[in-house]
């Protein structure tokens, strides 16, 4: 299988005055075409920093990072990437249709195709009846749905989701899981970070556990739990491995 994402010895340090915080301390990671990769770790593990590096928002201090064999700092690399941020906050004076059209135009999507895609995406996330309502009246869950829709506007080959289930009700979570599985069937690659281990376990082909800037383990759920005694849950495994590090 082709590697969509490849990171070798990825390092990043935040500097503020004299203080230095090493967010990533030599992370090696690869994600293959068509897989769902779950990225888990406690707060402050470096997940969001890793995602910012993947999106070219930050530049790695050391190490190599490629998406589709190219640097994510190159705008054209991001043409095939969709991103849903952890905090879904968008321009409140716009409607979801207007927001999606702005983003679609940034991707250079043809006008007719864009109109069609905007309608389909809003239907997919269940916002077709709120399509022309200003987003300042939206709940957190509705904003999360808009966020998911905008991540799909360019029909991305790689979808990066940062805590996608936060703020969603159980029905919407189930719906999102189904959409993620459908995207996988269409050959899309999905990289998502989450605190919710049960969600990660349900949808991921492979998992990576990050703690204090170190990637502690990667593999399928069966691979990871197979090393341990039978009947262990991902949560127990996660707590053990994180506990050893902390």
């Amino acid at each position: 299988m082709q590697k969509i994402l490849s990171a070798k010895n990825l390092q990043y340090t935040y500097e503020s005055g004299k203080s230095r915080t090493e967010a990533l301390k030599g992370v090696d990671l690869s994600v293959e075409d068509g897989e769902i990769f779950g990225f888990i770790g406690p707060n402050g593990a470096g997940k969001t920093t890793a995602i910012k590096l993947l999106l070219g928002i930050l530049t790695p201090e050391k190490g190599e990072l490629t998406l589709f064999g190219q640097s994510p700092r190159e705008p054209k690399t991001r043409q095939k990437v969709g991103y849903m941020p952890e905090i879904a906050n968008y321009y409140k004076y716009l409607t979801p249709v207007e927001l999606l059209k702005i983003y679609g135009n940034i991707f250079g999507i043809n006008k007719d195709l864009l109109r069609e895609r905007v309608g389909k995406l809003l239907e997919l996330v269940g916002l077709e009846n709120e399509a022309n309502r200003l987003m300042r009246t939206f709940s957190k869950g509705m904003m999360q749905k808009v966020s998911f829709a905008q991540a799909l506007i360019n029909d991305p080959d790689l979808l990066i989701l940062d805590e996608p289930m936060g703020g969603l009700d159980p029905f919407s979570r189930m719906k999102m899981r189904e959409v993620i599985q459908d995207l996988k069937l269409k050959g899309k690659t999905i990289f998502f970070s989450s605190h919710e281990l049960s969600e990660v376990e349900l949808v991921s082909d492979r998992i990576g556990i990050l703690c204090k800037g170190h990637l502690l383990a990667t593999g399928t759920v069966n691979d990871l739990l197979g090393d341990k005694k039978a009947g262990q849950s991902l949560e127990n495994y996660f707590l053990n491995i994180i506990g050893e590090k902390i």
Partner: protein
Amino acid sequence: MRAIWAIAGGMIKELIRKKDFYVLLIFMLVILGVLSAQTFFQIEGISRYVRDFGYSMVMLFSFIISITFAAKQIPVEIESRTIYPLLAKPLSRYKIILGKFCGSMAVSVVSFTVFYAIFISFYTAGGEIESLSLLGQGFIFGILFLCMTSAFAIFLSVFMTMAANVTLSFLFYMIIGGFSSSIKEIIFSSKGVVSVLYGILYYLLPHFEFFDLRVRITHAWDPLPAWVVVSVSVYTFVYCFMLLSAADRIFRRKKF
């Protein structure tokens, strides 16, 4: 280009949907209406005040719209985290800066055109049209002025908070606009190295006063010669290019 206009288009929607513009518009209509009513009662010389006050209001209100829109673009995007989905799109950072500038310009030009049209309609209501070409120059200079103020505020917005940016822009507008000739006198009365340094500083600062045709319009003087219009236009484009290039360099290095 499409990506730049997509960013700018969102800002025009913001102008239409927020109250700022309408408040200033109503305020202007009321004041010019009251002043023009005095003309109706044949108070001597009042039409000059209408022109003076009306033109000043057009420039000030357009400046307020321009600065407040441009100043908040980057800081508010960062604070509300809307910058992240934008940075994740296939956009170079200079396109984001250019999109924000074009958006601020579009918002300012729309506001200015509406304000100026109202001013002209009050100006010409009494049948006094001394010089259409002077009013045309007033329009061109207004657009150039807003080009400068938008670029100036966008430049400051890449490293300043909105409040600091607006305050500093107002200070420049008031001090340089109001005391330009005095500042020039002080600078050029100094000698030696200090004079050179002051001179460099003087030419580096934005000269908003270049665009002020208030006195000329109030007293219905002759229009400016073409070379002045061309020189001021060139000055504006060069200055804006420098400001936006500097903004791009800072924005490119910014860590989010």
